[in-house]
Symmetry: C2
Subunit: 316 residues, 2 copies
């Protein structure tokens, strides 16, 4: 079964890693959010792509989920001593990636090609694609601090400002990166990873053409909200601030008619009935991935769950 | 006695460090070559400024003379693994400096102000000035590889290509950095450090206004050529390739009528007579600085030697 997964950062990366361990490499493509990308110190930083790739390469920091294991912070210490901004953590190894990515982008290489080359260097066999080679930038409209770029909101201000809306600047003019639409067309199932529906999955769906393609396929989402809370990050806080109850049901409604199936955590088992009533087939299981084994077990369950949906619909 | 020194990289930095240990901070200003500056990975790298500052701050690598002590190379290792260019050594701590300098330049801060701020962070008390805030770029015209930027010639090709000429692009349009002309006016003596006359001192003298100011002052140079060889770098090789005998005499003639005094090494003692005959007062001493003590001893001798020259000439 060919799966194309949509992923943001840490939560998405974990499920993708599980899927990569369970599926043959040719059967998995990951489309990654790049609307968190930003320029810092003149470097092009792609937080979600790096998290996904580091995780797949076995290089990720297992404690934080982002950044690299055995990272050092010499450059950052120097920047701090010189009075420079140190709110965004730039590890020394991480910097090597940002520097080389930025150099290649300046030389005119598209991001998708850079990601492909980096994945080859890191012996990543599954296909990782940025959602777009064009810049799309998430802006967070807040009640208290005006409009912030995502990393300012998320890292610099520790997602404390109250959210009112999101905009994905540049999305209208963007195109899916090479391979994205084909991966969706070739997929038997599209899996929406347990990533933030607003700011991780939202931007992917905002790239013209992607949502239309996904509508042709059975889509299964894994809830990033468990017991009313996000495993990591501001998803639950965002739902609250936007006047919605942070729950698995809310996530299922968020994706609405895109979904054929929905996977929610055992702690939310009581919500499965309501989801089923809306015509979405639900699966209740342990969705929290604390260990590599958790990732593989959940991935195997996702695949088993997906088997019930009708396979690939070929375009006429 | 107020000294303004002209310096390039390692050799210049060592003598400047010696002078800084012997003179009160207010009596020493260093004007540093910036024509080796270049853009690499989008970073503005200032090799000579960094070497001078690291040396004055006690942060320099005592073995190489350039770069920082206890440096690590995590970012560079990652870049190499990703197939990026690794011919120019970017240490992790060094990267912190390049990143913060580049960030500030992009924000519109002039290089001279950045250097001042960095020196304050590093508790450097003597005044360090870039020769200019405008870009001046040394190009090396070679017989075998065409025209190369200095770092390509020096680091990437290990100064193997044969030199035919140098150009200092942008020099004509450049201005001395704020404080440079004043430091020269206020100096009792201008000391030309044992730096490469072609590519370290040459660009400083090529900035319009600097040479005219220096002409008003007694100038003492320390020979970077000892026993027909450069202590470090390509100075002797350059003289040879340009058809000149690499010797202390050749260096003295190179600076010509700028010089009031010239300091050459004991191994070249037999050349002192010829230099004296040209009207330049010579001093023969140990000029090789292997230890911090060597730097201070040579600095003390330079100052003692300089005492004989008429002090500051006030402009009418």
């Amino acid at each position: 079964m060919k799966i194309t997964a949509l992923a943001g950062g840490v939560g998405g990366a974990k499920l993708v890693d599980g899927l990569a361990h369970v599926l043959p490499p040719n059967d998995l493509t990951v489309i990654v959010n790049t609307a968190d990308d930003f320029d810092h110190f003149g470097l092009h930083i792609s937080p979600d792509l790096d998290t996904v790739c580091y995780t797949l390469a076995g290089l990720a920091n297992p404690v934080t989920g982002w950044g690299r294991e055995a990272e050092t912070w010499k450059a950052m210490d120097v920047i701090a001593r010189l009075g420079g901004p140190n709110w965004f953590h730039l590890g020394d190894m991480d910097l090597g990636v940002h520097l080389e990515r930025t150099r290649r982008l300046r030389n005119g290489q598209p991001l998708s090609q850079i990601v492909r080359d980096f994945c080859a260097s890191w012996s990543i066999e599954v296909r990782v694609l940025p959602m777009s080679d064009e810049p799309v930038t998430t802006q967070v409209v807040t009640s208290d601090m005006g409009t912030l770029t995502f990393q300012e909101y998320f890292v610099r201000h520790q997602f404390q400002p109250q959210v009112r809306a999101f905009t994905f600047q540049g999305a209208d003019q963007s195109k899916p990166a090479p391979g994205v639409l084909q991966a969706l067309r070739e997929a038997d199932i599209v899996v929406i990873c347990p990533s933030n529906p607003w700011v991780s999955v939202g931007p992917i769906l905002a790239v013209p053409g992607i949502q239309e393609e996904i509508h042709q396929k059975p889509v299964v989402a894994v809830s990033p909200i468990v017991g009313g809370k996000a495993i990591k990050g501001p998803a639950a806080k965002m739902y609250q601030e936007l006047g919605l109850d942070p729950s698995a049901i809310t996530v299922a409604r968020h994706y609405g008619n895109l979904l054929a199936g929905f996977i929610l955590d055992v702690v939310d088992a009581d919500q499965a009935g309501i989801i089923d009533q809306s015509g979405i087939i639900s699966l209740v299981t342990q969705t929290i991935m604390l260990t590599p084994e958790d990732r593989r077990r959940l991935a195997a369950e996702v695949i088993y769950f997906c088997e019930q949906f009708p396979r690939r619909v070929d375009h006429p």
